[in-house]
């Protein structure tokens, strides 16, 4: 039965192969189980959940919980659903991701191609930003937002996330550009291109993979952030994560678990989408940045 041959280490017997696939399948099921529970229960009437089996498929299929979570559920005191908060999050995430990515690219470009005295130290200091825990900056950041008059607004949240994101985006782009041939920059200089033209015309068009990495990373982090949203947002600028919390934590009435499940999936959907669309570039770009850096 075993067809394993000695000439190749990669070839394996059918038995081993079956075993490996079995394990993989098992782990896949294990990881998919929570998603299954969420999806299944978000499609049931509440009575089926409170009545008993969380694992069972719905007897009556309904999208009512999804509609409720999106537009009518009680968030805090208002029956608005998650919809307004979804747009709050979008209005915060898109500019924050764009700005921090572009600033990171500029930083990486300067740190690698326009080196100056002390650039290594500066880069080291910027890396610290990646290691500072969120809680530590809460109070200083509250002060900054208060002084600048941005407290409780979407621009304020954008500022917080941009400042926090620059560390990582600089790290990505610096490592990527360190492997980018300096001769290209020199050639462009002789051709007469200035600082920004070299950036726009030569560097950015060659940065596809690392832009994808940076965008996915920043998007996921900023979208999923709860602490800054809960601390610095007002009622009309609260992001999705905070609203979801308010939905689940509401203390009046019956706990509508099916609506909660639907809301949680809605909150996770955008990051999932970004991964599905750009995921295959993610690993590729991450490798390019880390190996050559």
């Amino acid at each position: 039965m075993s067809v394993a041959s000695s000439d190749s280490a990669v070839r394996m017997s059918r038995f081993t192969r079956t075993l490996i696939y079995l394990f993989l399948l098992l782990f896949a099921l294990f990881y998919l189980l929570p998603l299954f529970v969420m999806v299944v229960n978000s499609l049931k009437p509440l009575s089926e959940i409170t009545g008993g089996n969380m694992m069972a498929l719905p007897q009556v299929w309904t999208i009512e919980p999804w509609l409720a979570a999106w537009s009518t559920a009680q968030i805090g005191v208002e029956p608005t659903g998650l919809r307004p908060y979804f747009w709050n999050s979008i209005k915060m995430v898109v500019p924050a991701v764009a700005i921090s990515t572009i600033l990171g690219a500029l930083n990486g470009y300067v740190l690698t191609k326009w080196s100056f005295r002390g650039d290594k130290i500066l880069y080291g200091l910027m890396l610290f930003a990646c290691f500072i825990p969120f809680q530590m900056v809460l109070i200083p950041m509250a002060r900054v937002l208060g002084v600048t008059g941005l407290a409780g607004s979407t621009p304020g949240l954008i500022l917080v996330h941009v400042v926090y994101g620059i560390g990582f985006s600089t790290l990505y782009f610096r490592n990527y550009y360190a492997a980018f041939p300096t001769e290209l920059v020199r050639a462009a200089q002789i051709d007469g291109a200035g600082f920004f033209r070299i950036f726009w015309r030569i560097m950015l068009p060659s940065s596809g993979p690392i832009i994808v990495v940076c965008v996915i990373w920043q998007f996921t982090n900023i979208w999923n952030d709860f602490l800054f949203g809960a601390s610095f947002a007002d009622f009309d600028s609260q992001p999705m994560t905070v609203a979801l919390n308010n939905l689940v934590q509401s203390s009046t009435g019956v706990k509508e678990y099916n609506v909660h499940f639907a809301g949680a999936i809605l909150a996770a959907l955008p990051t999932l989408l970004v991964y599905i669309v750009a995921g295959r570039y993610f690993v590729r770009g991450l490798m390019a940045g880390s190996v050559k850096g």
Partner: protein
């Protein structure tokens, strides 16, 4: 004053001086090659001419105008890089015209210039491709096209052939030479390959350790090297450097070289009068492999040929020549024989030494004894 003047230019990083008072004047239409081992400062000097590195002290001037502090794009120079430095995101056509675009040349004129250059370099069919789709030789042409299209005062080449395979390198070398002959442009060319330097240049600057060791025509550099470094760096196989004791005999100087148990005496006909002051001292005698041959292959125009007997240690038939190794002055000495010279290892044969081409060096200062 020349077309491109380098006046006492030095380069220092902090307190470390890497280039010491370089003084070179290049005439219009000259092909100057900077050659030397890696780390000798040749690329630094080229980058200083290009404006990519600052000049610490001294001056570099093009057409009489000082270039210190002038931006690279304002010097009217073009540079071909070792890696070609083609913009990977642009087509060949865009690569060639990028410089013109940056200088605000109108589109119609850019296209005309691009087509002209593409035709000259035979890359018209490649204009819409990306650099990643080209072979090494094609990239090389595109890089030259990008330099040519600007019609610059000075072309700078930074080891442009070192990424090509051996055969293509020889082809492109000839093409660069043709280009220079047809266009009559002024070129400064950096290489570590002494054959490129010899074949391409109208003048060579041999550099080592941040100093220009010798500046001269290829023939001057090859026949009258200023010191032992230049002598051994230029030429392949490199020059034989033998210890010889000088003995003045009447009005001529003799060089005694040990050979096995005995000594061979060679009359130094072509040396300057100063050699006689070395009477009784040991000098380094430089003889190129092609000046030691089998008697039939000796230069018939030479005024003075000495014949010695030598035991052959190794023979290396190279097709066009046969290189043989013998021992002279206690060291391996390479001689270059005709391809069909009948020699075998272990034989003792006659070797004809062309003493006109023998060069004496002072072993302490390493300079040629003129």
């Amino acid at each position: 004053m020349g077309f491109l003047d380098i006046n006492n230019a030095t380069k220092a990083y902090g307190s470390v001086e890497v280039l010491h008072k370089v003084d070179i004047s290049v005439e219009e239409g000259e092909f100057l090659v900077l050659v030397g081992p890696s780390g000798c400062g040749k690329s630094t000097l080229l980058n200083m001419i290009a404006g990519l590195e600052e000049i610490t002290t001294g001056e570099i001037a093009i057409k009489g105008e000082t270039m210190n502090g002038v931006h690279p794009s304002k010097r009217n120079i073009a540079m071909v890089f070792q890696s070609y430095a083609l913009y990977p995101n642009m087509t060949v056509g865009q690569n060639i015209t990028f410089g013109l675009e940056m200088h605000g040349t109108p589109k119609a004129e850019r296209d005309r210039a691009m087509n002209e250059v593409a035709e000259m370099l035979q890359i018209t069919q490649l204009l819409n491709r990306k650099p990643g789709q080209l072979s090494g030789g094609q990239r090389q042409r595109v890089a030259m096209g990008r330099a040519l299209v600007r019609n610059p005062d000075v072309f700078l080449f930074d080891e442009p052939l070192s990424n090509l395979d051996a055969k293509l390198r020889v082809d492109m070398r000839t093409e660069i030479k043709k280009l220079h002959q047809n266009l009559g442009t002024t070129i400064v060319y950096v290489t570590h390959d002494q054959i490129e330097a010899m074949t391409l240049s109208t003048r060579i600057a041999v550099m080592n350790g941040g100093y220009v060791q010798q500046l001269g025509t290829p023939k001057e550099i090859y026949d009258t090297p200023a010191n032992i470094f230049v002598a051994s760096f230029m030429g392949s196989p490199s020059m034989n450097l033998l210890s010889a004791k000088i003995r003045v005999e009447g009005d001529r100087a003799m060089a005694d070289i040990t050979q096995g148990e005995g000594t061979v005496s060679l009359a130094m006909t072509n040396a300057g009068p100063r050699l006689k002051t070395y009477d009784g001292q040991t000098i380094t005698l430089g003889i190129r492999p092609e000046s030691i041959t089998d008697p039939d292959g000796a230069d018939r125009h030479s005024q003075h040929i000495e014949t010695i007997q030598a035991r052959i240690d190794v023979t290396e038939p190279a097709g066009s020549d046969t290189f043989v190794t013998t021992t002279l002055g206690g060291k391996d000495c390479i001689a270059r024989m005709r391809a069909d010279a009948d020699v075998r290892a272990g034989q003792t044969v006659d070797l004809a030494i062309n003493m006109e081409k023998a060069i004496p060096f002072d072993p302490k200062t390493e300079n040629r004894i003129a």
